[in-house]
Symmetry: C2
Subunit: 132 residues, 2 copies
């Protein structure tokens, strides 16, 4: 650590076995311990140099989110080499389709109940819940 | 083309300005014309060598989907350097939350109609309008 005169490298530089210089673009986002494991995935999938260029090209305020999403994409790709995080997109798209189908089915049921009651149509949410 | 004795390189090799050898791992997935543009994004985000390793490590039956999802991730990252395709995941997650809320609200309305049809107690407003 800094007390000994030999500062610990960040997780990225630890993984890359290089000196962690002042202002290292990875240091704020990859801590010495867990950061090295996260960075290993990033390096394997994207390459350290590509990610360094990408982060350097962003305003520093955006780098934390960029590092987090890149780390997520890298881990997803190692976990599922064929689909990566796109598997998550497919699953969510399917969930949306299922929810929309349930919503349509419930709307149809509500219409039936309205007819059974003698109404021509189902009241709109605005009619049931007037704005206050 | 093959007729002239100078086969066109695939889109990846065209972009990388290298000879497209027989059995090139990119050739089935990157055509000569549009493939070069798609590969440019892939090379910038992932690096040709990382993607080559990834595809080579997969059974050939899985490579088409892997190339397509990698191409999608690369283009999403160029379009949105901070969130990449994770922006799509966030948007879908929000859509799921909204649909679930509409579903709950519709279920509550259906309950009201059931009560109006035959039961004594009216639901309280909190049951009619769940927080959205």
């Amino acid at each position: 650590g800094a007390m000994t005169g030999f500062p610990s490298p960040c997780g990225a530089c630890k993984f890359l076995r290089r000196k962690c210089v002042n202002g290292c673009v990875f240091a704020p986002h990859f801590c010495h311990e867990q950061g090295a494991a996260h960075f290993a995935a990033i390096h394997k999938v994207f390459g350290a140099s590509n990610v360094s260029k990408l982060l350097t090209g962003l305003p520093s305020i955006d780098r934390r989110e960029a590092a987090a999403t890149i780390s997520y994409e890298a881990q997803a790709r190692l976990h599922d080499p064929v689909y990566g995080c796109v598997a998550h997109i497919f699953a969510l798209q399917q969930q949306v389709v299922n929810l929309q189908a349930r919503l349509e089915s419930l709307k149809a049921q509500a219409k039936v109940m309205a007819y059974q009651k003698g109404e021509a149509r189902m009241p709109r949410p605005a009619e049931l819940c007037p704005a206050v």
